[in-house]
């Protein structure tokens, strides 16, 4: 069973992000890059599907500049078989739809039976690409899944998706698109053997032309990035507990009008 996992390379949340010389993008100097955390749940689930069935292949795909090969390598080190790098300079500032079109084209070539995304990337927090790929391919899709079980005959998958107030369970025919929510599994760490082995695995470069696509413009563009407006300075309420609590409640009621 072939499972394809698109992953995104994003700045580690702990690193400082600063607006760059071009105010539509961040300054990338000194940034530590990681695989977006939700994508790790997707990679883990793909590996578990393969291991449980005893056969199959996990292919990871990413869009972006040369450095995204590091992200692909860490997925290969976790246990994916091979990687595809959509290495197209014209798509450096791709929006979700352009990204989805590129990924849909890769999926048409690769013909996996399941495509597993993370629920959203933690840089732009858009959470749209997986769903958009499903629409472009005309496939069913379940987002924010917390559990997944493939039927014995390998033709469908039963998933539980997180919704307000509960979990909705659906059975989807394959092929389909799923997006992973935290809680689906615990991603593994790559082993030393995995890391060594990953160096020998294939990362195939593809361009827009290889996918039969024109490098078209984005539908949604960043006009500018801005720093957060500073919050008004806060107030530490002094005094012993009883006094402080009384004053806090008064302030919330009378000054902040929050109660």
């Amino acid at each position: 069973m072939k499972v394809l996992v698109p992953v995104k390379q994003v700045p580690d949340t702990a690193t400082q992000v600063k607006i760059g010389g071009d105010p539509r993008a961040i300054d990338t100097t000194g940034i530590t890059w990681i695989v977006s955390p939700y994508d790790e749940f997707a990679v883990e689930e793909a590996l578990r599907i393969k291991e449980k069935r005893g056969t199959g292949e996990v292919v990871v795909v990413s869009l972006g500049p040369e450095r995204v090969k590091e992200a692909l390598r860490s997925c290969l080190a976790m246990g994916a078989e091979r990687a595809v790098h959509v290495n197209e300079p014209a798509w450096e500032s791709a929006d979700t739809l352009t990204t989805a079109r590129a990924l849909a084209a890769v999926i048409k070539q690769e013909q996996p039976v399941i495509v597993l995304f993370g629920r959203q990337a933690i840089d732009d927090d858009m959470g749209a690409v997986g769903v958009q790929v499903a629409e472009l391919l005309g496939w069913p899709c379940a987002s924010w899944i917390m559990e997944a079980a493939i039927s014995g005959d390998g033709t469908s998958v039963r998933v539980g998706r997180q919704v307000e107030g509960g979990l909705e369970v659906f059975e989807l025919p394959l092929p389909c698109v799923l997006t992973a929510q935290k809680g689906l599994n615990e991603p593994r760490y790559p082993t030393l053997k995995g890391i060594m082995g990953a160096k020998k695995k294939e990362i195939k470069d593809v361009k827009a032309a290889d996918l039969g696509l024109a490098a078209d413009g984005a539908q949604l563009t960043v006009v500018t990035l801005e720093a957060l407006p500073p919050r008004p300075p806060g107030r530490i309420i002094p005094g012993e507990a009883g006094e402080a609590v009384k004053e806090l409640v008064r302030a919330l009621r009378e000054d902040a009008k929050a109660i």
């Binding site: 987002s143 039963r158 563009t221 919050r231 008004p232």
Partner: protein, 329 residues
């Protein structure tokens, strides 16, 4: 109406629109007023309560597109998307907006792909620049704000709950309801079951106006009772940091932050939470932030409006008492 700003209605699955629609309609009306358009509601449902239509009108919908058919429940993106796309194709609205909920964040992304337009997810503000809509959305764990704009209409966006102001109620207005014929495509996804969460009797985290939240400082699952008592008095929801969730003290659905829920209540109160950047990512747009932590250097104090340096086991019960006294008056 070609200048219409649509609000895709989010209902409670029992035929009643949720209050988040009031916020979306309020913003839709504000924006529409600047382009000579109007706010309209589009409601996909298997069964609409008549009251619901009245509420939508009161909240500002000049017209309601009611798409009612048994095949629309439960929600499936593959069914709703073509239905909504067909109506949008005929009516050519200027913008299609919806609250951030599990259904709508998926539906709007899918619709954007079908219509070949951009989507601004989880938006927190809108304005116009040279006649084109510009949306503001938090990015990089809420550390920066990104202003985005569309290459063409319709402008699709989802709106973070609790951020936008509803307009004043237009009481007693009779709704204009259109019931266009709908063709419901055959779904491929089969609904199996819905597993309800055990009700806490408290409001849903993303909808609550007040959220009381606990972290590793609570020391164990049994101590969340202290926060639940406070929450009951305030009609608040109880949330948690990832540390508390990963320790197994609370189920994941209560987690606030980058890998949890994003909330924007009127009042957020954090107890025994350090305020790591990933936690702030989920609650930074709260209107008033209160922090109780025994460490005066805890980063949460940097964004708190009010802070008490002290032991939560002493402070939280005192707060419960004090609020009880005040609210019972």
């Amino acid at each position: 109406m070609a200048n219409a700003f649509w609000c895709v209605v989010e209902d409670d699955r029992a035929g009643r629109p949720k209050k988040a629609n009031a916020e979306v309609l309020g913003e839709a009306a504000r924006l529409a007023a600047q382009t000579g358009g109007q706010a309209e509601a589009v409601w996909l449902t298997d069964k609409a309560e008549a009251d619901g239509l009245g509420h939508l009108a009161e909240w500002g919908a000049e017209r309601i597109w009611l798409l009612e058919a048994p095949g629309l429940a439960p929600y499936r993106g593959e069914v709703w998307t073509p239905v909504l796309a067909e109506l949008a194709g005929k009516e050519q609205p200027k913008a299609i907006l919806g609250a951030v909920t599990s259904r709508l964040r998926e539906l709007m992304a899918r619709l954007a792909a079908r219509l070949g337009v951009g989507l601004s997810a989880d938006s927190v503000a809108f304005d116009f620049r040279e006649g084109t809509l510009v949306a503001t959305r938090p990015v990089y764990a809420g550390k920066l704000l990104s202003k985005v704009s569309w290459a063409k209409a319709p402008w699709l966006a989802t709106l973070r709950p609790n951020v936008f102001k509803p307009r004043d109620l237009l009481a007693g207005r009779a709704p204009v309801v259109e019931r266009p014929a709908v063709t419901i495509p055959q779904p491929t996804m089969a609904f199996v079951e819905r597993r309800e969460e055990v009700s806490t009797g408290l409001p849903e985290l993303t909808e609550a106006e007040i959220v009381v939240s606990g972290g590793r400082g609570l020391k164990g699952p049994e101590n969340f009772v202290i926060l639940e008592e406070l929450a009951k008095v305030l009609g608040a929801a109880v949330g948690a940091s990832r540390a508390a969730v990963d320790a197994g003290w609370r189920p994941h659905r209560f987690q606030i932050g980058q890998t949890g829920r994003t909330i924007s209540p009127k009042l957020y109160m954090g107890f025994g939470i350090s305020g790591a950047i990933q936690h702030l990512a989920g609650m930074r747009t709260s209107k008033i932030i209160v922090a109780v932590n025994k460490d005066p250097e805890a980063p949460i104090f940097k964004i708190a409006d009010y802070g008490i340096v002290g032991d939560l086991f002493e402070i939280a019960p005192l707060l419960t008492q004090e609020f009880k006294r005040l609210l019972e008056k």
